[in-house]
Structure formats: structure tokens, C-alpha cells
Symmetry: C2
Subunit: 159 residues, 2 copies
DNA sequence: CCTTGACCCTGGAGTGGCTACAGAGTTCTA
DNA sequence: TAGAACTCTGTAGCCACTCCAGGGTCAAGG
């Protein structure tokens, strides 16, 4: 199987496959006389495994670890458990902040329900209000969490 | 105000402030005799505005556009409306895929409820099953969307 | 006066997970 | 036999920072 066929079979871009090889997510395949990569069923399975994990947004470094674990079937599986648990926690935390984000944006959008000039635009007005340290429709609380980092918003010189 | 004070006042990292300057999100401030940046209230407000937008996960390119809009108060505000609407749609799409992700990971975690060896681990088993084109607990459908791109999972050589 | 430590400067590299491209060679199809 | 379609390598770009090296500046304490 050539790289294009593997790509078609898995839906993974050719460039991405080569990238995974560079990143040592799977061993370099044998080469044909012309230098083309020749893949077998093993590669197809491993690539599907990787994409399945990526679909769960598991980072490549963790996928590498999972692949290593798979070679030691007698070891205890606590690490795998832990890895999935961590991933779930990450997703839940992100979900929480995304929900807040959705509320804030929906609230902000409400500020502009008619066609008028930028000078009168409620949206821009709200965004600018925040820059003056005033309370704003979108951020009632002063501090909230984005991407796991504490970010201060809606405040200003008064802090 | 020196950069450290601006940083303390807004909660924005010093490096990030310099980065915003490089990215032309605000004009370079005047310099003191020693070369230190000297900021005023305008910078503080603009930086707060930027962070407020970033807290809404509005990309820097869009923030640049918003800042340009703000200089034209008589123009119609349709573009601003549209920008926020697009952002809301983006967030909602992402939210939807995150919710699916959460379900899938929670389902996957259930597969391993006891301490045993990697060879017997239900989680790894499920992940490997996907690579064989079998149905898996985490992905009942064959195809779903991640980050706006179509990704094929849970299938394999049979496609 | 000297040291220490906190601050500031520039320029460049690194992060993750791809994606895109240049410039070359190879193979398939009409 | 021409041209399209594929493959190769190597490198750079994307986003929004973050970190570092190697230097300069400044105030407080001994």
C-alpha cells in the first residue's frame, strides 16, 4: 500500500501521515525500489488507532505512551486508566468554560438587535465599557478561567 | 506607567504586552530616556479591551478589525454584529463536539473499573477494536466532526 | 562605593498538530 | 509521448503566546 492509498483508507492526510512518522508515532515503513513508502495492515491499524485517540483529543505524547503500554500486556493498567481520566477531566473543564463563553457571547449579541451606526453599537459599547472597568453584560464576575489559566477581565485600574 | 505596572494593573503578562505591540494591536508607546516603555491610560484601556475580547476567544485578527471599526463611529455596525455572530457559531459548534467527546470518554472510562493487567484492559481493548474496524463503545457513528474537519474513525480496512 | 536583586531591553526559539509549499523525481493514463 | 497525478525531501507557516540568553538600568542595603 502506498501513502496515498493509506491516506484514502483512513481519511488521514498524506502530510499528516508523514508527520506522524517524523514524530515517531509509528516505525518508518519499508521502501520500494523507487523510494516510495510501502505500508502494510499493521500500519493501517496503528494509524486508525492514532486517529481514534486524536478524535478523543488525546495529545500525541499520550498516544505514544498508550502505544508503549500496549507492548507490555502483563503490566498493570493503572496508567491507562489515569490517562483517560485526566483527559476526561480536561474535557470537562474546557466544557465548563465554553458554556460560560456561549452565555457571554449570546448576551453580547443581544445588545445589537437593529441596524445602526458603529457609534451607537451596543456590542462595541459593551466591549469598551469593560476597558473602563465598568460592569459589562458579558462578564458579571471579575475573574474566570480560560484554557486553564486565570485571566482577569472586566476590571481595570480599580483593581 | 512602566510595562510591569501595566502588567500588574491588567493581569496581562509582560511578554504578552510586548507581543501585542509587535503584532500591532496597539501603537508603540513613547520611551523614557533609558529606553523603557512609558504607558498611559489609553494603553491600559486598550489592553483591557483586548483581553476582554480574548476572554471571549475572539482571535487577534478579529480584535484588530474591531479596533479599526471603533475609529469609524458613523459607519454601519453590521460587520461587528456579524463578527460576534460568527464567534458565537464557532463556540456553539465546538461546544457540540466537546459534549460528544465527553460522552465518549466517559463511556470509555467505564470499560475499566478494576485493577488488572494491560492485556485485559477494557480501555485499550476498545481503542484497539476501533483500529480493527469493529464497533466501539466510544464511537457508535463512523464519522464525526472535530475542529471543523471531517474525521473518519471507527472504520478501517473494510471501507 | 559596591553588591544584590528587581526590573527592563532585544532578538530568537519553542509549543502542538498539523498544513502548505518548493523543487525534484516517478508512475499512470490518453 | 505528453501531461496529469502521484511521491519524495526539507523547510516554513499557522495561532497566541511563552521562555530564554545576554545584556542594560536602577534603587536599596551594607
Amino acid at each position: 500500500m502506498r501513502i496515498g492509498e493509506l491516506s484514502a483508507a483512513t481519511g488521514v492526510d498524506v502530510e499528516t501521515i508523514r508527520y506522524y512518522e517524523r514524530e515517531k508515532l509509528f516505525a518508518a515503513p519499508v521502501r520500494q525500489a523507487n523510494g516510495y513508502r510501502a505500508y502494510g495492515t499493521i500500519h493501517l491499524e496503528r494509524l486508525s488507532f492514532i486517529r481514534h485517540c486524536r478524535a478523543l483529543e488525546i495529545p500525541l505524547a499520550d498516544i505514544r505512551r498508550l502505544l508503549e503500554f500496549a507492548t507490555q500486556p502483563t503490566a498493570p493498567c493503572g496508567d491507562i486508566d489515569h490517562l483517560i481520566e485526566e483527559q476526561l477531566l480536561k474535557v470537562r473543564a474546557r466544557l465548563k468554560s465554553m458554556r460560560a463563553l456561549e452565555r457571554q457571547l449570546a448576551e453580547l449579541r443581544k445588545r445589537c438587535d437593529a441596524h445602526h451606526s458603529i457609534g451607537e453599537c451596543g456590542i462595541l459599547h459593551e466591549l469598551v465599557a469593560a476597558a473602563h472597568g465598568e460592569a459589562c453584560a458579558c462578564h458579571s464576575a471579575d475573574v474566570f478561567v480560560t484554557k486553564g489559566r486565570r485571566v482577569i477581565v472586566g476590571s481595570g485600574p480599580t483593581r
